[in-house]
């Protein structure tokens, strides 16, 4: 950061003093509404982080940088994809740049790192990260999530696998960290309650150059469920196909078959069934415009990372419309945000539960090749899916949070 020169400092102080003398409120009202974006632009997580920025920038461009009649300024901060960076950048955004609302961060461990700080500061956050307890047992009144909790889509995937695909025996594989556990446990719980059995659970480390040793262990199952994220699904699916495993159907969570990832995949992805809260092929006008603008400006098909920030931006816009463009009272803004309910977003209708987590549609898609391109074709829609699936919040929260061995896997072989 360049140091301000002494002259600039003196001038600035003088101007500040003058402004104070003539009354600040008038200026504050004309000042832009500031959105801080906590994202990742360097390191291994940069792919998703860059897409997040593209999503919100696309919305701002469509609105001509104006929400509810008020100018909007976007300040982007690169956390580097690690907890310490997230903490530093969050305080930079909130205390130095004085943003009115924070969008992001990307990863669960980043969100956990800033959770307490956000609680103290009291600045509304629209998180993309999946960590279940952020909107459950450790719910933070300032944090909302417009994407999905880790297991939100996997509950539906478990239901679809058991009821519609009639699979009986499943193996799961996902990274050895919380997002993986929470996804696979959500799948297992619903799948087993509806008569299926999870007979194998594998947890490769986050950094696994070669998945062959794991793939060789699946054995005799009806389907394999994967919850990989980042660039891992690309590696995993290629190895899976290379080893002649395509005779066993592959199911996937939203990050593993995100639409933005399709261009990196080949024939190995054809036939994979996935559950996602956003799909680029969704047929609604807002989404069509969003997909067209993303294609025009960035030459990409948007996935969940971009759509998540676009929707988060729409929620902020709706809240600002309710407060008449005012954001000085953070409590009021926060309440307005939590009360938002939208019918037209790229992902379809969106509202929030009492814990700040989104209630929205989950799409089941099958990957197909259409005109040379890979496409996730929607084959079923679960409407208004809550993070608590069909259990209700009280009963759901009485259990411990999903973990590596919760719920216990009783059918392992």
């Amino acid at each position: 950061m360049p140091r301000p020169s002494r002259r600039a400092f003196v001038a600035g102080t003088a101007a500040g003093a003058a402004a104070a003398a003539f009354g600040m409120p008038a200026i504050a009202q004309n000042a832009p509404f500031k959105i801080g974006l906590l994202t990742v632009k360097t390191g291994p997580l940069a792919q998703g982080g860059i897409q997040m920025e593209q999503g919100i920038v696309t919305l701002l461009k469509q609105r001509n940088n104006t929400f509810a009649g008020r100018k909007v300024e976007l300040i982007s901060a690169d956390t580097g994809g690690n907890p310490a960076g997230a903490k530093t950048k969050a305080s930079e955004l909130i205390e130095r740049d004085r943003v009115d609302v924070v969008l992001g961060p990307l990863a669960a461990f980043e969100m956990l790192a800033i959770n307490d700080y956000i609680r103290q500061q009291g600045t509304p956050v629209m998180s993309l990260a999946g960590a279940e307890d952020i909107t459950q047992r450790l719910a933070n009144p300032w944090v909302m999530r417009g994407s999905a909790s880790s297991a939100q889509c996997c509950h539906a995937l478990g239901d679809y696998a058991a009821k519609e695909l009639k699979y009986k025996r499943a193996a799961t594989i996902s990274e050895d960290f919380a997002f993986g556990y929470e996804q696979m446990s959500g799948f297992q719980r619903v799948f087993e309650e509806e008569g299926g059995k999870v007979v194998k659970k594998l947890w490769p480390p986050m950094i696994t150059p070669d998945y062959t040793p794991y793939i060789a262990q699946f054995g005799n199952v009806d389907c394999v469920v994967n919850g990989f994220a980042g660039s891992n699904p690309v590696k995993f699916m290629r190895s899976y196909a290379d080893l002649g495993m395509k005779r066993i159907p592959l199911l996937a969570g939203w990050t593993a078959m995100d639409d933005a990832l399709l261009k990196s995949l080949g024939d190995e992805a054809v036939g994979v069934v996935s559950a996602a809260w956003y799909s680029a092929s969704l047929d609604n006008p807002v989404n069509k415009q969003f997909v067209a603008d993303m294609a025009k400006d960035y030459n990409v098909i948007p996935g969940g990372y971009s759509a998540g920030m676009y929707v988060a931006g729409q929620v902020v816009e709706a809240a600002l419309a309710k407060t008449g463009g005012k954001a000085d009272d953070k409590k009021a803004l926060n309440e307005a945000l939590r009360g938002v309910s939208l019918t037209e977003t790229p992902r379809g209708p969106v509202k929030f539960d009492a814990y700040g987590n989104v209630v929205g549609d989950v799409q089941i898609r099958r990957c197909e090749r259409k005109g040379g391109q890979l496409v996730n074709t929607i084959i079923k829609t679960y409407s208004d899916v809550s993070q608590f699936w069909t259990y209700g919040d009280k009963a759901f929260l009485a259990n411990p949070v999903y973990a590596r061995d919760y719920p216990p896997a009783k059918n392992l072989e």
Binding site: T42, G43, P213, A216, G230, D242
Partner: protein
């Protein structure tokens, strides 16, 4: 039974790739005593260059060679103009190579974006070999074959050519090598470029099954380090044995005791460091 066979074949294939990666690292460290922390970056840079060539329709082998040459050039320039000034100063060398690792990582992110790239396996090498009802991807066997060819070529070069004799002299005793008229500094540049080129070539060979993505550099670097520490620096035989050892430990460790996979990977390295610090076949004293 089939599980063990799959793992065994896969171990050998991974060993082949690790050898391509670490042979250069071993020579660089053995000859120049430079802990080259950008070796993983050369691997990644090569892989990115390779997929770019492939994207333009270049033949797979030409793409791999081209990426190797270009990266070798980059490595040679860095050695000639920067590393040379730091001869014998280990800490500045660590800082310089680590700094370049970050720079290369970020430049790759800017140029190739954060999206993972996975080139298709070359058409004639696609498909699986079926042995006793067991599928095994042909391409992995090709990697092994290439590694064997490269190993033989390097062995012939080091053991049977004048250049190899000079390299060996440089490894054993640089001051004396200088005294007898070997231009050790030119040799340094050459070996450094060769090491970078080999790493880049390995990157392209690995791309169809590892894919290329930001962070690949720092996934490969530790593997190169443990191979070389295990096998001993400056020794091609050491790199070869170390690569296959790690290949087997990696595959069987992850399949049998996944929770301790990393312990199993690093434990032999620890034992070697304690009991035989120069490595199994190392020539350079600790």
């Amino acid at each position: 039974m089939s599980l063990w066979l799959t793992l065994a074949v896969n171990s050998v294939a991974l060993g082949g790739l690790l050898f391509l990666l670490s042979a250069g690292f071993s020579l660089i460290f053995g000859l120049m005593r430079i802990p080259n922390l950008m070796h993983g970056s050369f691997f990644m840079l090569g892989a990115y260059l390779g997929v770019t060539f492939l994207d333009r329709g270049v033949n797979f082998w030409l793409a791999a060679l081209g990426a190797g040459l270009l990266t070798g050039l980059v490595g040679g320039l860095i050695e000639r103009f920067l590393l040379r000034r730091l001869e014998g100063q280990v800490l500045p060398q660590v800082l310089l190579t680590l700094g370049f690792a970050f720079i290369i990582g970020d430049v790759c992110l800017m140029v190739w974006t954060g999206d993972p790239w996975q080139p298709a396996t070359p058409a004639q090498l696609q498909g699986a070999v079926q042995v006793a009802g067991l599928f095994f991807p042909l391409y992995r066997l090709v990697i092994l074959a290439v590694a064997v060819v490269v190993a033989i070529a390097l062995w012939v070069m080091v053991d049977w050519t004048r250049l190899g004799a000079m390299i060996r002299a440089g490894v054993d005793d640089p001051p004396i090598a200088r005294v007898v008229g070997i231009k050790v500094s030119q040799l340094f540049t050459l070996v450094f470029a060769l090491g970078a080129a080999l790493a880049a070539f390995a990157g392209v060979m690995g791309a169809p099954y590892l894919s290329v993505y930001p962070g690949l550099d720092f996934e490969m670097l530790p593997l190169a380090l443990i191979v070389v520490i295990l096998g001993g620096t400056g020794s091609l035989l050491g790199a070869l044995v170390g690569s296959f050892l790690i290949g087997f430990l990696y595959n069987f460790g992850q399949a049998m005791v996944p929770d301790l996979a990393y312990v199993i990977l690093f434990l032999p390295m620890l034992l070697v460091l304690v009991l035989r610090p120069q490595g199994l076949f190392g020539k350079v004293g600790a």
